[in-house]
Symmetry: C2
Subunit: 453 residues, 2 copies
């Protein structure tokens, strides 16, 4: 266990994970479009030697479009924002979510390669396929709104999309730029090649417009715990960000993912498992509870409504001091919509016989929630890490920037003192932070495969 | 004339306008993917109080894909790069080219709005429709490569694309963010609305994910001088970047554009006309000629091959010391492909009876070329500006960064001393630099129209 390294990212959801984050006295609700705010967050994360800053995304307001907003949305385009954050930091990894459903693979491959150059090797693409119906309604063709394809089709398209993107990232050899001024020869003959992809969904000639990037390939993350998502992660991903609410489920899930990964001929531990970890942190547990009570009071009944909408039930079906409705607790585990994540929450409620109020002290959205002092948060991280359920966490503080600042100033030092977390960056690329090698170019891959075979 | 303002942008084509730019002793051919290089260029432009830095683009290598490169390509994605440049500058306008043919309007609207927030109001979208066949081959659908639609269809699609983008930019009212912490109300009821666009090409619900940006709408540029392009510019654009090789043609073109603009009910001078101006600059004309000879020697016969491919003729049809082939000089003016730009060059050759060698001292690609000392470059700018043919130029130096640095240090002071160009920025937004107002929100537009009617 001693050579395993703990990995920590921070998932910046505009104002924070708590539905009342923007109402907290520490928050300024107008910051969500201000570059200075985002740069400050990135610099706090870098001061804490975190592996990466993670940007979730969906190209919609993620709610019925004419309803007023109850919190700041995921407003800024993540790719554009990451470029600004790259120029304001030197070591922090930068992970951006982009759906395979609303982009062209050529554009996406080029944008992440560009970001990898501009950040000098610090970016990752978090692949999602988007089940958000409001997003689909923003990308219809003429003559009417296109329907959303079913999950299986979306994942088949995502797999082809990733294949195209990776082929484009390899369309230049590492030494393609010759730059022979005297001869007037800029690139090496034969070192930049078309990919000539002809598939079910895409037809792409290539090559890309730019040299291979510092990491060879930008890192690939995958988010979402459905069977299709896990399979995509096992085949392609360097890291997963999936919701986990309890240690038994997290252990089972990690084992499942590792077996699937091995089945693709990859090392069992090839994928960094980093589920979300939300927290409300105080200098003591009591202070944390007070901060949590204060936030809950600000959110009021919105918490219940929010939870009901996640569970796809009517708010009237939930009562604070009762268990979840019987039919949910008895429901069969299925794999449609966000069912994978929903099952995780329902499993926890059933296993520990929790009321709604108790459950909402343990999970937020689909993610594990811990309320406590610095030692308790550090314990919560160490427990799952040592158990082998995770390689780290994608942190989801209650309120930005104060929640992140508290973590960096009070929890990170404890993790360092316990020998769990780096005291300083030892690498300059995100692959380096994650203990992953640079991806070799086509010739390197050919040699690698030959050596293994 | 005294209240007209001269506007100057710089069009950064990786290494410079001259085909041998990267071979020049001042150039480092490995800079084209290095953020430090691009940031340095932006800061030189800002030191010269230029209106904007302009990034051309096509999502391809713009040449037969398996042929080796003879110069650095337009490698980096312009939108991603502009975000880095926004964070490294404070006043410089930032113009990025994106084709309407390979993007979704929702994504484009969101990215430019994001850039406008991150730059605090300094971005422009340069609209193109892409005739580059290699680009089209990177965006085929499954089952085979999609053919390129004809120019008229491309422009009809572009117009609808722009309509969707502008509607999305107006999907939030200016005061939509309420941020009432006590009431828990983040947005004003009814201030964020769907656009419900149902058109020939697109079906987009909206709203956008983010508040209206500092400029209201990012500035719109249009590049290209075909009739379709001019019409698009007249209807929508705040600025045009079209090739012009001679003053008579530039005057005729400006008059045409202004008439078309007026026909759309806009002020005749609503569009800033900024054609390309390439230059080779020395401290004297003699030094400039030496620099030019040196570059031409490095490029050798590539210059002729390059020019032949632009004209869509075989290199064997061109001789350095003869006029253009008769059939070109006699050819009818048409409007397909890049014919608009080609006619401009052929017109100049015919009017002044130039050999190929003489012609290539006057134009580069399709653009006006001036070789001389600082006073001569300043004269060239002043002549066309005072004649009313242009509102300024999009500068295309021979070699980066030295060509731009020479211009900022030696030509800008002359233009300032002549009272033609600003000594310091008087505005913080690109609209401000260009003498354009912020675009009011939907309610503002309604009030504006009512007041006029």
């Amino acid at each position: 266990m001693t050579d395993r390294e703990l990995h920590l990212g921070v998932n910046v959801l505009s104002d924070g994970m708590h539905p009342a984050a923007w109402q907290h006295p520490d928050a300024d609700p107008n910051w969500f479009t201000d570059p200075a705010y985002w740069i400050e967050l990135a610099r706090i994360a870098e001061r804490g030697t975190l592996d990466a800053l993670f940007l979730a995304d969906s190209p919609s307001l993620f709610q019925p479009p004419d309803a007023p907003l109850t919190a700041p949305p995921l407003a800024l385009d993540p790719i554009v924002l990451l470029s600004t954050l790259a120029s304001a930091t030197t070591h922090l990894g930068l992970i951006g979510t982009v759906s395979t459903s609303f982009e062209e693979p050529y554009n996406l491959a080029r944008r992440f390669a560009t970001l990898d150059h501009l950040s000098r090797g610090r970016v990752a693409w978090n692949v999602v396929t988007s089940s958000d119906p409001y997003a689909w309604n923003n990308f219809g063709r003429g003559g009417g709104v296109s329907g959303q394809p079913d999950r299986r089709d979306r994942y088949r398209q995502a797999a082809e999309f990733i294949d195209v993107v990776r082929a484009l990232w390899d369309s230049w050899d590492d030494d393609a730029v010759l730059a022979d001024k005297a001869a007037g020869a800029f690139s090496r003959v034969g070192a930049i090649r078309t990919i000539d992809h002809r598939g079910e969904f895409y037809s792409v000639d290539g090559p890309l417009t730019l040299p291979r990037s510092p990491q060879g390939h930008p890192v690939l993350f995958q988010a979402g715990g459905s069977a299709g998502g896990l399979d995509l992660a096992a085949k392609y991903a360097d890291g997963v960000f999936a919701a986990q609410a309890s240690l038994p489920d997290a252990l089972r899930n990690a084992d499942d993912l590792r077996s699937r990964t091995a089945a693709y001929g990859r090392p069992r531990d090839a994928v960094r498992i980093m589920p979300g970890l939300s927290f409300v942190l105080g200098s003591t547990e009591e202070e944390a509870r007070r901060r949590n009570d204060e936030l809950n009071a600000l959110a009021g009944e919105r918490r219940l409504a929010h939870f009901a909408s996640q569970l796809s039930v009517d708010p009237s079906e939930l009562s604070w001091d009762k268990p979840l409705p019987r039919y949910l607790l008895d429901g069969a585990v299925t794999d449609t919509g966000s069912q994978g994540a929903r099952d995780i929450v329902v499993n926890l409620a059933r296993r520990e016989n929790l009321t709604v109020r108790q459950l909402l002290d343990r999970v937020i959205t689909w993610h594990r929630l811990v309320i406590g002092g610095p030692e308790q948060i550090a314990d919560a991280i160490e427990e799952w890490f040592v158990a082998g359920a995770v390689d780290g966490f994608n942190l989801m503080p209650d309120v930005f920037p104060s929640g992140l600042e508290l973590f960096v100033d009070h929890v990170v030092p404890i993790l360092r003192d316990r020998g769990l977390f780096r005291r300083e960056y030892r690498h300059t690329t995100l692959r380096g932070h994650l203990g992953l090698s640079r991806v070799p170019d086509r010739r390197g891959n050919v040699i690698g495969v030959a050596a293994v075979g």
